[in-house]
């Protein structure tokens, strides 16, 4: 099949969504499909740019390319699913969350002005139109599917995807909790640092880059975490696999996250995941006392959970093994069969 995978691209920013789209293309190619990644730069501010940028996708003609038809388009994330195609499959990683549950929070974008309020509604309307056109609609998690259902009335099939390919392994249950995430406020890495401030025995390693890095490093200094909080910046695939292999557990507690590959990556390294009760999508795979620990989103509760794992590495190993069994069931073979069926 000739498949165009559509994903927006925020120049100079790379995260799970970008990795997912690239991996999907390579996995399709590995199964003898003629697959191509189609991207358009995306900027969502100021004002109505979110709509005019979405409109760029609407103008694309992906029915054929170079005189040959494109059989299927697979769109992944707002606004790429605004693209037109008679066989449009949408595998939703994210709607434009600022128009939904992040509205009127510190992570929101729309003010109380009539124009901004109307703009938010227009984004919602655009979602109803664009997602409603899909010949099949998938969501990476029940959390995402629920949000789609509430906001558009459309039913999406839940289909998680495997994480990126890494040399996953487990070498030890070491003495640090690992955070793998883009450094922005919604990922709530400050909560892990506050937990470390709460428990002098807790060491953390924070990987990733992002706009919140300076604030987080300042916070670590303020809390006197000298030597107990290490910021690595972006790391190579091998370095990341090595960190996964050596950590005690993986911290992943964004606010109402849609999906997140990190728990699956942790599980494939046989590591338990430490998350929060309001983390959203991760709670679909992180079960308290089975594949990790779920704590209240408070420093004290998280510190206590991390201490429990530190003091009982056998439990950490058992949770990690249970997680691995779960993660190994999510395969690209199954996903692609379903996606193109």
């Amino acid at each position: 099949m000739r498949v165009a995978v559509c994903a927006p691209q925020v120049p100079f920013v790379r995260g799970g969504a970008e990795i997912f789209a690239e991996t999907l293309v390579s996995e399709l190619r590995a199964r003898d499909h003629d697959a191509e990644l189609v991207t358009v730069p995306f900027k969502w501010y100021p004002g109505t740019r979110v709509l005019s940028q979405a409109f760029l996708w609407r103008l694309l003609d992906l029915e054929e390319s170079d005189g040959r038809p494109i059989d299927v388009v697979v769109a992944t994330k707002f606004p790429s699913y605004c693209v037109r195609h008679p066989n449009k499959r949408v595998w939703v990683l994210h709607q434009f969350r600022q128009a939904y549950e992040l509205d009127r929070t510190e992570l929101g974008q729309f003010s109380e002005s009539p124009e901004d309020r109307a703009l938010r509604r227009q984004v919602q309307r655009l979602d109803r139109i664009a997602l409603g056109e899909a010949t099949r609609l998938f969501a990476t998690s029940a959390n995402v599917a629920g949000r789609i259902e509430r906001s558009t009335g459309l039913a999406a099939e839940v289909m998680p995807h495997p994480p990126q390919e890494l040399p996953y392994r487990c070498e030890e249950y070491g003495d640090f909790v690992l955070s793998v995430n883009r450094l922005d406020r919604a990922k709530r890495i400050d909560l892990l640092l506050e937990a470390a401030a709460h428990d002098p025995g807790l060491r953390v390693v924070v990987t990733g880059e992002g706009p919140d890095r300076d604030r987080l490093e300042a916070l670590a200094r303020e809390r006197g975490l000298n030597g107990r909080a290490k910021f690595t910046g972006r790391v190579s695939a091998e370095e990341l696999a090595s960190l996964y292999a050596r950590c005690l557990a993986v911290y992943y507690a964004p606010v109402d996250e849609d999906f997140g590959m990190v728990p699956y990556e942790a599980f494939l390294s046989s590591k338990p995941v430490l998350t929060a009760t309001d983390a959203g999508g991760p709670l679909e795979v992180v079960s308290d006392g089975r594949t990790g620990l779920v704590a209240a989103p408070e420093p004290g509760a998280l510190a206590a959970a991390a201490r429990r794992l530190r003091e009982d590495p056998a439990a950490a190993a058992a949770f990690g093994r249970a997680g691995r069994e779960l993660a190994e069931r999510v395969t690209w073979d199954a996903c692609i069969d379903r996606l193109l069926a």
Partner: protein, 412 residues
């Protein structure tokens, strides 16, 4: 965002006042609302949008139409036929010329001549004899910057009347169920009919059909609740049909708590209507919430009720026969009643949920207040980019841009 709301409110005794009283607290959680004092027609300062509840009753809505005339805004159109309202604010205010003009706008010279006939008392008042033929909604539609309607029926009629603005279809909200015990009325089955007792509620047809039902279901009882309209001789009809002494329980207007208790006592409720003014029925929404199967006329909004919850009776030469068959089915088949009741409660929960309705209202308000600016801004950016690469309006490329914009609802 601040919204000026013009609506009748309790203690005014009107369905729309009850509706607004129900909706307002949920709306206030979403939008900053200022309710205009009754009779105030001057625009409220500092508001981004004005919203007018318009219905057919001139006493309740005459002043709201006056306010709309001073500041166009979003109209919640509760009835499409507004003849009674327009007659009230023209003839009722000794403005015969206003009525002549309204009728001429609606139906040309013939309309004007008919209006003369009404003013000269040569023909019966059209708002009583033929309102559905002359809805007189033109002025309201012209002043409305957007419409909120409750049914596809009203939306279609507005479009047929040439309305080109934005229309939001929002269901009638359902009341939370009060903690009530069903009142003991008796009857097997007990059928209820609530509202004014008159010909347009098809009470003559209902009485005929019910009298036939009693031949096979002697225990059946009809609960008729509501004021009798002037000129409607109910007693004579009951005498003629043999219902005067038995089978019928007659109550005048009852307060809200008792209304719920009486509805809760019914096995099914009858809500007939013809002609329709395009209205929804708060009474039917209450009955759905209570999980009651309903029998309705197959007109307007009532036709849009799912078949799973409503038996629909066409208004034709066989109306009484069809109605009798519907009543007989409900009297005979307890299982059917139960299944319809379950579907009714589910419909009320799903479709008429107060929070959902308030969300839809808030979305409509936000789009109405800022939507034009948003669309203008996007169009300006797209037009500038198009012009930069040499695409002009009216060219095939320009047309395609317009088509794609319309597809995502950002067109003109």
């Amino acid at each position: 965002m601040r919204v000026a709301l013009y609506t009748p409110m309790p203690p005014e005794r009107s369905g729309i006042a009850d509706y607004s009283a129900l909706l307002l607290p949920a709306l206030e959680q979403r939008v900053d609302v200022v309710v205009a004092r009754r009779g105030r027609t001057r625009p409220l300062r500092g508001t981004d949008l004005a919203v007018y509840h318009i219905g057919n009753n001139p006493d309740a809505h005459g002043w709201i139409l006056d306010a709309l005339r001073r500041r166009p805004g979003v109209v919640v159109l509760h009835d499409f036929v507004l003849h009674h309202l327009i007659a009230g604010v023209t003839i009722g205010r000794r403005d015969g010329h206003g009525y002549l003009d309204a009728m001429e706008r609606e139906a040309g010279v013939v309309g004007r001549l008919l209006a003369h006939g009404v003013l000269d008392k040569r023909i019966p008042p059209l708002w009583e004899s033929r309102p559905e033929d002359f809805p007189l909604a033109g002025e309201v539609l012209e002043l409305a910057t957007g419409l909120i309607v409750h049914s596809a029926h009203v939306e279609r009629r507005a479009r047929e009347a040439g309305y080109g603005g934005r229309i939001w279809r929002v269901p009638h909200p359902a009341w939370p169920l009060p903690p009530i015990e069903p009142e003991h009325v008796g009857g097997d089955p007990l059928l209820g009919c609530f509202g004014n007792v008159n010909a347009s509620k098809r009470v003559p047809q209902l009485l005929e059909a019910f009298a036939r039902l009693r031949r096979d279901h002697a225990e059946a009882r009809l609960l008729l609740v509501g004021a009798t309209s002037p000129g409607f001789d109910l007693d004579r009809r009951l005498q003629r049909l043999g219902l005067a002494d038995d089978g019928l329980v007659r109550l005048d207007w009852v307060p809200e708590p008792r209304l719920w208790a009486l509805m809760a006592a019914c096995d099914a409720c009858i809500n007939l209507r013809a002609p329709t003014m395009g209205e929804t029925s708060g009474s039917v929404v209450r009955q759905l919430s209570l999980g009651k199967p309903v029998v309705v006329s197959d007109v307007g909004w009532f036709s849009e009720l799912p078949d799973a919850v409503a038996l629909k009776v066409p208004v034709d030469d066989h109306e009484v026969e069809t109605l009798h068959a519907a009543l007989a089915l409900l009297a005979r088949e307890g299982e059917v009643r139960a299944a319809m009741g379950r579907a009714a409660a589910e419909l009320a929960r799903r479709e008429h949920d107060l929070e959902r309705v308030a969300d839809l209202y808030a979305a409509a308000f936000e789009q109405a207040a800022g939507g034009t600016a948003v669309v203008d801004s996007v169009l300006r950016e797209v037009a500038t980019a198009a012009a930069d690469v040499g695409i002009a309006a009216g060219t095939p490329e320009g047309d395609e841009l317009a088509r794609r914009l319309a597809e995502i609802d950002v067109g003109r």
